[in-house]
């Protein structure tokens, strides 16, 4: 079976820095933070973290009611991001509905908002009489993926991977494999996430949420910084349109980057704390998949969420594989942790960095923690020729994922 080359020909974003890829990139380059105090969190007993990075200014009414009725926020974000991705890639209606375009998008826990509503109605009188028929469609695990195919008229494959914070990265990887092995010509891939107090609580309970910056939200999270105290939950959606090189060239689509490798592995040592050895193994695996050496990587977009153990494990693993030769940054300081969306939103930003030859430094990184030493973490923007970039994501439950992107050169 032949393996086909896969490129990225479009993308769309809804992030805490605004709607659209342009708004996100402007915010990232301007060192803006999407993290805010969320007053509603103060009413949740026992919840210490009061900050989050939420999507602003999105009007669900843009989507026709027929589709919107089955959508919670994560599907609304995805529908808008998909629209941007398909438009920017110049995908025609014929391609969209022709069966060669598929979808691979996931969430962490589908819709916590709709789930709360359902259980609220159910538990009120232990009855189901007030539960609308459309509520279930917002709750099912593949709600986001199914909503996308319904509202876009897509007739190809539907995949809905879910692996917490690795979801977006895995969705790109699995979409890449669909195309590489000739099962589809185009795949709309990514992750989506909607905020709920219980999501923040999950990390708060585990001691992994930032709790000491409620009075200065923009100063947290602080990936790799000695004063970091945890991650900050966020929401949004990132979608990348992946396409076979052949298909992209045939229809003269804009080629933004090439995907040259994807790897994922499991870390059975601990449910919550990623171990540096398994991260190292995953990074070595993706290099092997791509058939390149570590010396060919010009930039690493870290998962680094601002947790004590996670950042240290990732920094140590990177140091082991790459030493201090490759610039590393995390975008969690700007965006917070968009969980299922993070792999995709950060991949989009990574590709934009490749194309522009500019490394965005980690926001809120002022003093590198000694436990994260041994890697190169720029604290100011760096302009340099970037050809290959690695995107890391690691998930609760022990799921690592790494994708390699290469700047596309037309005469390659």
């Amino acid at each position: 079976m032949g393996v086909r080359r896969v490129v990225v020909t479009g993308y769309g974003a809804v992030s805490p820095l605004g709607r659209g890829v342009k708004a996100m990139m402007e915010g990232l380059f301007a060192r803006k933070s999407g993290v805010r105090l969320v007053p509603a969190l103060a009413g949740v007993k026992g919840l210490r973290t009061q900050v989050a990075a939420l999507v602003q200014g999105v009007d669900p009414q843009e989507i026709p009611r027929k589709y919107r009725r089955a959508m919670s926020s994560h599907s609304v974000f995805a529908a808008l991001a998909a629209q941007e991705a398909l438009e920017s890639a110049g995908v025609s209606r014929e391609i969209r509905t022709g069966g060669r375009l598929g979808v691979c998008i996931g969430t962490t826990v589908s819709s916590p908002i709709a789930t709360e509503e359902c259980y609220r109605l159910y538990l009120k009188e232990l009855g189901v009489e007030d539960i609308k028929g459309t509520l279930f469609f917002q709750i099912m695990n593949h709600s986001c993926a199914s909503n996308l195919v319904q509202c876009l008229g897509i007739t190809g494959r539907v995949l809905s991977p879910s692996a917490a914070c690795s979801t977006g990265n895995q969705a790109i990887g699995y979409g890449y494999e669909q195309i590489a092995f000739g099962k589809q010509d185009l795949m709309l891939c990514g992750g989506s996430e909607e905020f709920h107090p219980l999501t923040a609580a999950t990390f708060d309970i585990l001691g992994a949420a930032s709790v000491h910056f409620n009075d200065r939200p923009a100063q947290t999270p602080r990936p790799f910084d000695r004063d970091r105290d945890g991650m900050v939950c966020a929401e949004g959606c990132g979608l990348l349109l992946l396409e076979s090189l052949e298909s992209a060239q045939k229809r003269e689509a804009p080629i933004l980057a090439e995907i040259i490798g994807y790897a994922t592995n499991a870390d059975p040592l601990n449910l919550a704390d990623p171990h540096e050895d398994s991260i190292e193994a995953c990074m070595r695996l993706v290099l092997k998949e791509a058939g390149i050496s570590e010396k060919e990587v010009d930039y690493i977009n870290a998962h680094a969420t601002g947790t004590l153990q996670g950042d240290t494990a990732e920094a140590r693993a990177i140091a082991k594989v790459f030493g201090d030769a490759v610039p590393v940054s995390s975008l969690k300081g700007h965006l917070g942790h968009t969980l299922a969306a993070s792999g995709a939103l950060e991949a989009i930003a990574t590709i934009e960095m490749l194309r522009r030859g500019k490394v965005i430094p980690t926001l809120n990184l002022e003093h590198v923690d000694p436990s994260c030493a041994g890697i190169k973490v720029p604290t100011a923007p760096e302009e340099r020729l970037l050809t290959v970039a690695l995107k890391n994501n690691f998930a609760l439950g022990g799921v690592n994922s790494c994708t390699l992107f290469r700047r596309f050169v037309h005469d390659r």
Binding site: R65, K66, R69, E129, D130, I131, K132, G133, T134
Partner: protein
């Protein structure tokens, strides 16, 4: 409650729930063809009516015969009359 009031409650609830154009809310409007509702909306219409009029109708055979907005009006008016009786 007068028949006019019943019709007003039904129409208002449906316009709000399904974002319908109030001008299209005429008795002869076909639910699927004219109001562009579908089977999922049909399920939610029953829930909407049960909530608005505080009765239970989901097991009634007669609701399967409903085709137009006027059919809903007549069904609810008759149901309320039968409950009163």
């Amino acid at each position: 409650m007068t028949d006019e009031k019943v019709i007003e409650i039904i129409n208002t609830a449906m316009v709000e729930e399904f974002e319908l154009d109030p001008e299209k809310m005429v008795p002869e409007a076909l639910l699927y063809e004219d109001l562009e509702l579908d089977s999922l909306d049909r399920v939610d219409t029953v829930i909407l009516l049960e909530k608005a009029f505080k009765f239970k109708i989901r097991e009634e055979e007669a609701i399967r015969e409903i085709r137009t907005l006027g059919d809903i009006h007549r069904f609810v008016i008759e149901k309320l009359r039968s409950l009163k009786a």
